[in-house]
């Protein structure tokens, strides 16, 4: 990644506090066109918060977020809407509208944001379903789908408007390893076939090493390291080694120290 590439997302010194607790502390990051960037970190490290800032759902206390060169922290609602139409998002729970069928879920963004004819939308929906390997499932209700199918329908809905960026929030959460591999393959296919930029938030290291072009390691609201798979694998950082190997011993402490335990019990 030495050659200069087009930057589609730029984050500058992003800071956010929740109730006095610093969740993001000066995050700066560039995402290049058509790469797959994976944001990795433990629970509560701020990776979901970071994602919510990039898609404009949260406003930062300080810092800037540029999407397609436009500072979204200062964008008004109309400007934000036109930016939102250029990216798609796959939610952790897929977030399908349960009052609508699979077809209607995927058709909704097209119905609202394009002037396409209804039968053209129907054809497009079938194409999107085929892209995620769910041809023939359009008539089902969302309650009839399994977890993995919901994710894939959510992905079909996210690509409904042919976005330039797709954001994935924990795409492998709650899925078995095989379905996780399927979703990972879909992410790879989309980015290679349509040269879509992908930003993935996850803590599943297997899928990280399958899909990532670059990896961002986040810990306690700060970036530990940004690098390729090899750079992260060979990182000298103890936190990163502990995280990718999944060991209990290391700089991240999960148990309260033994000192003072007796006094606390007998107090």
């Amino acid at each position: 990644m030495t050659e200069k590439k087009e930057v589609v997302i730029r984050i500058e010194n992003l800071e956010k506090q929740f109730g006095g607790r610093k969740v993001l502390e000066g995050i700066s990051l560039d995402v290049y066109k058509s790469e797959t960037l994976v944001i990795v970190g433990g629970s509560g490290c701020g990776k979901s918060t970071l994602l919510r800032h990039i898609i404009g759902q949260l406003k930062p206390d300080a810092g800037k977020v540029y999407l397609f060169g436009k500072d979204i922290t200062k964008a008004n609602e109309d400007e934000m809407d036109s930016i939102k139409k250029r990216f798609g998002m796959l939610f952790q729970s897929a977030a399908l509208f349960d009052s609508l069928t699979v077809e209607e879920n995927i058709a909704l963004p097209m119905r609202e944001h394009t002037k396409l004819d209804d039968h053209i939308i129907k054809i497009m929906v079938k194409m999107k379903l085929n892209q995620v390997g769910l041809r023939g499932f359009g008539h089902l209700n969302t309650s009839q789908l399994s977890g993995g199918m919901k994710k894939r329908v959510g992905l079909a809905r996210a690509i409904a408007l042919d976005p330039e960026i797709i954001f994935y929030d924990e795409p492998s959460a709650g899925l078995d390893p095989v379905v996780t591999a399927v979703v990972d393959k879909l992410i790879l296919d989309l980015s290679s076939a349509l040269s879509i930029t992908s930003v993935v938030v996850t803590h599943d290291m297997n899928s990280v090493f399958r899909i990532a072009d670059r990896i961002v390691m986040l810990y306690k609201g700060k970036i530990l390291q940004i690098g390729t798979k090899e750079e992260i694998k060979n990182s000298k950082n103890e936190y990163i080694q502990q995280f990718i190997n999944g060991t209990i011993e290391g700089p991240m402490q999960f148990f309260a120290p033994d000192e003072g335990y007796l006094e606390e019990l007998t107090k």
Binding site: Q57, M80, K84, S93, A95, D98, L108, P109
Partner: protein, 264 residues
Amino acid sequence: MNILQAIGRVTLSAGAAIWDVFALFFRTLYWLFYAPLRGKFIGRHYIFSQMVFAGVQSLLIVFFVALFIGMVLAMQGAYQLSQLGAVRFVAALISVSMCREIGPVLIALVVAGRVGSAIAAELGTMKVTEQIEALETMAMNPIRYLVVPRFLALIVMLPALTIMGDLIGMLGGYIVGVYNLGISPGLYIKTNFDFLVLKDVMTGLLKSFVFGMIIAMIGCYMGLNTKGGAEGVGRSTTMSVVVSFILIILADAILTGLFYFASV
């Protein structure tokens, strides 16, 4: 000190909630009146499906509630009026009290229980399952697509249901008055409408229009501010009914006072 702190905290959070409800109300008005001028319309099918749910599907419960309350009023009224030898005025008592007071309030309470709670539960579930956020990232404003159709449906359908309820209540009174109290049908109907003036009906409809706003706003506010999974959805649903009930009665008292003092 602790009691004072607690009172202060409750006052502050209640104040913030009232402010939030008004903010939601004004944003709803924005999407209802101003945004269409800028070419952002609200899809007709969203409104109609809500109207069917809030209005048409409430007809059965409104029918039974209004019919029985009309019958009860007739019997209670006859019990009192018979002591004055004025049983035939039962008809007037029912028509005026149904139109001015009981129809709008009772039907608003029924609809708050049926529709307001359903709105809170539906939007609350959408909130905790990220569906609201999904709408927002798809550049679909939740107020435009979720709140405004429900608001419109209620302010149109609640007065409509109230008209139905008024008439059905009168029918209930008629059944008791004619078949039990022995008032002749012609006399009953004449007394029923002789004492009813247009103002009675209009003030009642104005009330139900305001009640419709209250039910929609509280249901949507509670739903959109749901936190914490299934338990949160339950809490929002309960709160929407409790708060709507209190506000409906409060608004009723204020409006009745206004009409009363405006007419003297």
